[in-house]
Subunit: 295 residues, 2 copies
Amino acid sequence: MERLLSMMRQDAELTEKTLYELVPATDADYGVLLEAERYSLLAGGKRIRPFLVLSFCRLYGGEDKAALPFACAVEMIHTYSLIHDDLPCMDNDDMRRGRPTNHKVYGEANALLAGDGLLTRAFGTAAGNPHVSAELARDAVCALSEAAGDCGMVGGQVIDLLGEEQALTREQLTRLHSLKTGALIRVSALLGCLAAGFSADSAEAQAAVAYADRIGLAFQIIDDVLDVTGDEAQLGKPCGSDADNQKTTFLTFYSIDEARAYAARLTSEAISLISHIDGSELLTDLAVYLLDRDH
Amino acid sequence: MERLLSMMRQDAELTEKTLYELVPATDADYGVLLEAERYSLLAGGKRIRPFLVLSFCRLYGGEDKAALPFACAVEMIHTYSLIHDDLPCMDNDDMRRGRPTNHKVYGEANALLAGDGLLTRAFGTAAGNPHVSAELARDAVCALSEAAGDCGMVGGQVIDLLGEEQALTREQLTRLHSLKTGALIRVSALLGCLAAGFSADSAEAQAAVAYADRIGLAFQIIDDVLDVTGDEAQLGKPCGSDADNQKTTFLTFYSIDEARAYAARLTSEAISLISHIDGSELLTDLAVYLLDRDH
């Protein structure tokens, strides 16, 4: 587990350094836009998505330089989704990761545009990956667009909004998370495979996506548990907010123990999907780490 | 000119039919999202950007089927920008093209997400163009991302916001329009060339982009003129709003006659850039049409 944490730190630094280069500071008239993008992009976080891209690329024999543009593209999309999600017309959150949200610092209009800019840049970054073939870059853009779009993350957001107005069924809740957070986690694993030269329909990519599917759902279940049992200081956000907002969560359908057991079962499934592959220890550790985390 | 208007109508129908297929209705939990996207996507308009994609593709011997995915991608991006631009935190507009704006019908959150969804889908649509090589699809995504992003349309929006707080210089105003509307018009012409198999650095593409640059700026100058001289019913929006908002426009620096003369000069330049090419009559007519329009 020590090795995992050390690798995650290293990869987070590598990703942040590259993001920093990809979103340059400028004194142009629109400079505040790039400043706003950097503010949220470089706000820390676990960088799990870039780590998945890099790890699956390495697992299948690819090079970091081929994975990095994809890793940054995914992180740009993740970051844009947080900025838009925090806006007053969405979740109306003032704090994120212990800091004021983007629109609290730069105003709503700039936050909206910073999100738009990051989403737009993500696709150029993926398409412009100079270390993969044009075919794989094209496949990466198509996969990213699908994962982030109407039938992926954005669609999940709409179901999330629906859940503010009405109670969701268990099926709707599972679909919500499969789309809202799961899709981007799955595509991260897939992009790692593409960076290593494997096509989306290869057995390698399918195992990676199935693994990511399981850890993504487990991650969300644990998130719901931590909202009740966690420590506010460690989480960097208020606890109990789901209950306060009468939100449907996994704890609507399961006790805390049942929810933990469900997440543990998904984690085992994830591990069994990749444990036969040489060098998969880090990804095994990652699944366990995400299950056992306290924030 | 009759032939131009007839072709523009035909191409608008072709584009709308394809957009309709690309954004399918669904009874999924996120169905309202696609409904909101269709609402703005199919709200009419001149469809100048798709027309440019199709026209340059034809001019250089390409096939419509190769141009259509690019044409739709550009129109999706244009439409998303209108949805976000109309939001309360931006221009706060209630009406667009004579109909309530997206957020007036679907609420702010859905409008925000419909814009995000369209932007995301645009890149998948361009990348997934099955009638061009992977190299050209990749180039198209990179060009679209640049044109729509921080150093393009989104950057222009930020300068536009700046203009609400302070008077802009003529240089800033020109840059505003070159980015906010010009970039997407230029990339439309470029995508038409790519669809015909010409690379971005070909003489063909460079002439197309230079032409689009001139008609894009002329278009904006005429827009400013029409805001003062136009007919509200024909424009589908209130007149005089620029002056009411104390916005810097070309009429801050030029009289109406001078502005018209400037636009006419740009139109002549645009025409001279392509008039030597066989079959360029429609694009010549387009430049004149945009100059002489009354809405």
